[in-house]
């Protein structure tokens, strides 16, 4: 990723934009943080938030006219947060705090004229920045409304503590101003509290800098009645004085000084309407707390709400994209974001819900591709899935033929490598049905190349797609009927000129197969994430279910907002625990049994213990309770593919082609339940165990346990060393434990 790309992505995520209240506040009080503390009744802490930002806070918190309320996001769901009243409550009830610490002296003296709110605020802002301030005025607090006893005195004391020298009861002839231009480095005039000839002399100040006709003299705009805007003029003047005395640009980068607009997005869709606390007098502690609780604590986090993966890593895309960028830049040391990059399901939900179309999927897929190109992709991340894909694309599983007795194909059925792995009988039935009703339907058993693409292995994905294309051309370029939503998506991308139909649209057109069953109870229709951008596909499936009189329920996050089942993007390989957590979230989307048209969704959801079936289970019923069928393990999936091809060749094409049996395949053994579970968790196949056992038998190399009499053998057929602990019983071998590691033992070990 180039740095410019990083900036662009960062810019796209608005989660770190400031809330509306803060942006609209002329002084940028952090109303969100303030409300959070008030809601916890931490009045003193809340007061510190105000006192950190407001000059003369005891005065200003009581006079603030709260322009933030006009833009408060709460205003459309009950009414804006009553910031003004909350500030007043806090001012009355919190422990007063000392004025902020003054910065070291800059050795610059500034004259401030006028003791109104603007003058006091200007003096405060200048003094805390380390200017030596002299405030000249006839009355301190001139023009302020009545304040509770002691409030003004306390703030005057704070001003003096900040080092402001106050000269009272002075008359202010115009010469005083002219003198001060000689003695001081700059001056600020509170135009509401000085004689009129001053303001005439200075003219209307510039809106941005408050600069006047006199160099180094700044003045507040005339006629400002809002207290908080008066204070803001004081701060603006202080900023100008600072720039002026430093000799830097007076204008650049000042857009965010006063109120401004923010890009922050906050979704109100699930926010309940709650009206402001109604009381006529001042708040009690409880009412203040309850009012503050109405604050929505505005943030975006739209994508994080719906994506277990984004939630899992505790931040949000703006932070993640930086981590991904840093990951790529590391030359020496540990890359911290590999797991982050490899755990995205690449499902696109984030992009769909994001107000700015941020696609974490694009970020992660691109990072994977780069990692593969530069040899930085961890070996373990996708290796098992890629080996499985190679197996599915191997001779024992692939097939491309015209229907028996046909020499051409109008259509070719493409069930995909996962449907064949999980439900070979369903595939047989579907293919039979298609031939019965459409005639010349050929068959292609092949992987659609999605796993390679997800793993960032573009070359491999292209090679797989090219072989597939060749086979399809050899069949005379028939129209493709695919059942799996991921196959549909991947094939349409890889073969853009080919007409590719879903099995569901065919069924919608020709009607149900004769044996299709109907289910009495309602089912939750699970849309796979691969169908997100395919409304027709989603509609076709529902039409087919409707014909079966299935009463349909929509789970949470469905349709265009479909959540992934935990298989997409190979998350279940790169981060198995997260994969299961994602599946769990998906499974909890509805109480009813699920029916889905993606076999991986079916199997992932079934793994969580939730009852789930595939539409084929209803269209081509073969079992009494298909929703209870467990997800087949990795070994069974491979065997299913091989068996399906053999059975099709035998039953459909009348060809008895038994493949050459490898020696290890003849090794028989049983496993304990615990071993069956470890095999799945550790991605150890039955064939891996057979290879170890064969090797032990042939070489005689193994350990024996004195106490149990069990044997222990190891073998490294490819990149993994497998260990098998087993017992030789009269009834045959029983495997008690299996494990594996990637490290290679140097020396003679097989």
């Amino acid at each position: 990723m180039e740095q410019a790309e990083l900036r662009q992505w960062e810019q796209q995520c608005v989660q770190e934009e400031v809330p509306w209240c803060l942006a609209a506040c002329p002084l940028h009080v952090d109303a969100k943080a303030f409300c959070a503390l008030m809601a916890q009744q931490r009045w003193d802490k809340a007061w510190m938030v105000l006192a950190k930002t407001l000059p003369v806070p005891g005065i200003l918190a009581r006079l603030c006219d709260a322009p933030c309320q006009e833009v408060c996001v709460r205003k459309d769901v009950g009414g804006a947060i009553e910031m003004g009243r909350l500030e007043r409550f806090c001012a009355e009830n919190a422990k007063p705090v000392a004025p902020p610490r003054r910065l070291p002296s800059r050795g610059k003296s500034i004259a401030v004229f006028g003791g109104g709110l603007t003058g006091l605020c200007g003096a405060w802002e200048l003094a805390r920045r380390g200017f030596d301030v002299t405030l000249s005025c006839s009355v301190v607090g001139e023009g302020l409304p009545a304040l509770p006893d002691g409030v003004l005195d306390a703030e005057v004391a704070s001003l003096e503590k900040l080092g402001v020298v106050i000269r009272r009861s002075e008359s202010l002839p115009l010469e005083r101003l002219q003198d001060c231009l000689v003695d001081s480095d700059a001056a600020f005039i509170d135009s509401a509290s000085v004689p009129e000839d001053w303001t005439v002399f200075l003219g209307e100040p510039d809106a941005m800098t408050l600069g006047t006709t006199q160099l180094g003299v700044f003045s507040s705009p005339a006629g400002e009645s809002s207290a908080i805007m008066q204070a803001a003029a004081g701060r603006r003047a202080a900023n100008s004085v600072e720039r002026f005395t430093q000799g830097v640009s007076m204008v650049s980068g000042r857009d965010h000084e006063g109120p401004y607009a923010t890009r922050l997005f906050t979704n109100l869709a699930s926010v309940d309407v709650v009206e402001p606390i109604k009381t006529s007098g001042p708040y009690s502690e409880d009412t203040a707390r309850d009012e503050a609780k109405r604050c929505l604590q505005c943030e975006c986090m739209e994508c994080v709400k719906g994506c277990e993966y984004l939630r899992h890593f505790n931040y949000y895309p703006k932070v993640y994209v930086r981590q991904v960028y840093n990951n790529e830049s590391i030359v020496m040391g540990t890359r911290q974001a590999n797991t982050l990059i490899n755990s995205c399901m690449l499902c696109g939900l984030c992009e769909t819900v994001c107000p700015e179309d941020f696609s974490m999927a694009d970020v992660c897929l691109q990072a994977r591709q780069t990692m593969v190109e530069t040899g930085k992709m961890p070996q373990s991340a996708h290796e098992f899935a890629l080996r499985d894909m190679a197996f599915a694309d191997g001779d024992r599983c692939t097939l491309a033929r015209h229907a028996p007795g046909e020499s051409s194909s109008e259509y070719v059925f493409f069930p995909g490598c996962q449907l064949t792995a999980s439900d070979p009988e369903g595939v047989m039935a579907a293919y039979g049905d298609l031939r019965d009703r459409l005639g010349a339907v050929g068959l292609m058993l092949h992987c659609c190349s999605a796993p390679a693409a997800w793993a960032g292995r573009q070359a491999l994905a292209e090679a797989s797609m090219a072989t597939l294309k060749q086979q399809w051309e050899d069949l005379g370029c028939p129209r493709i009927i695919a059942a799996c939503p991921t196959c549909l998506k991947t094939l349409r991308q890889g073969l853009p000129d080919v007409e590719i139909l879903s099995h569901w649209s065919i069924l919608r057109a020709v009607g149900l197969p004769s044996g299709a069953m109907s289910v009495p109870c309602p089912l939750a229709v699970n849309d796979p994430c691969a169908a997100r951008y395919d409304p027709l596909l989603r509609e076709d499936v529902r039409a087919v279910l409707d014909r079966m009189r299935v009463e349909m329920v929509e789970p949470a996050y469905n349709g265009e907002l479909a959540q992934c089942c935990g298989y997409g993007g190979l998350v279940s390989e790169a981060n198995p625990d997260l994969g299961l957590a994602v599946a769990d979230v998906r499974a909890k989307g509805a109480d009813e049994d699920f029916v889905t048209y993606c076999i991986m969704c079916r199997d992932m959801i079934a793994k969580t213990g939730k009852r789930a079936m595939h539409v084929y289970d209803l269209l081509y019923p073969r079992q009494d309770d298909p929703a209870a069928r467990p997800s087949p393990g990795y070994s069974a999936r491979r065997e299913n593919r091989v068996r399906l091809k053999e059975q099709l060749l035998r039953d459909v094409w009348g060809q008895d082609e038994t493949h050459t049996v490898e020696p290890y395949e003849s090794i028989e053994f049983d496993v304990t339940d615990a071993v069956a579970r470890s095999m799945e968790d550790r991605r150890i196949l039955k064939s891996d165990i057979q290879k170890v056992l064969l090797q032990a038998r042939e070489s005689g190399t193994r350990l024996v346990n004195r106490e149990t009499g069990y044997f222990l053998a190891s073998f490294r057929p490819v990149v993994m060393t497998y260990w098998v602990e087993y017992e030789e019983r009269a009834a045959g071998l029983l495997v008690h434990r299996v494990w594996c590691h990637r490290m290679k033992i140097q020396g003679a070990q097989p």
């Binding site: 590999n338 005689g700 190399t701 190891s714 494990w739 590691h741 490290m743 033992i745 140097q746």
Partner: protein, 71 residues
């Protein structure tokens, strides 16, 4: 670099079935992603068969593998 330790308990009971010999701790070289480790592991002194217990393979060894992958 001996970063990997084998708990005594894991070795208990295992002998080489081929040679009928007790295993003894001996320096063994392990290799992953072009990195070599010299580790003391239980080994048959006569035929050289090395024993890597389950706890080691899934624990410390796995951690080292991941570390190397992320380097």
């Amino acid at each position: 670099m001996s970063v990997i330790k084998v708990p005594e308990a894991d070795i208990a009971g295992w002998t080489c079935a081929t040679c009928g010999t007790e295993l003894v701790l001996a320096p063994v070289e392990l290799e992953y992603l072009d990195s070599l480790f010299n580790v003391e592991l239980p080994r048959c002194p006569s035929c050289g068969f090395v024993y890597i217990p389950e706890g080691l393979a899934l624990g410390k060894m796995h951690q080292v593998e991941q570390l190397l992958e992320d380097k």
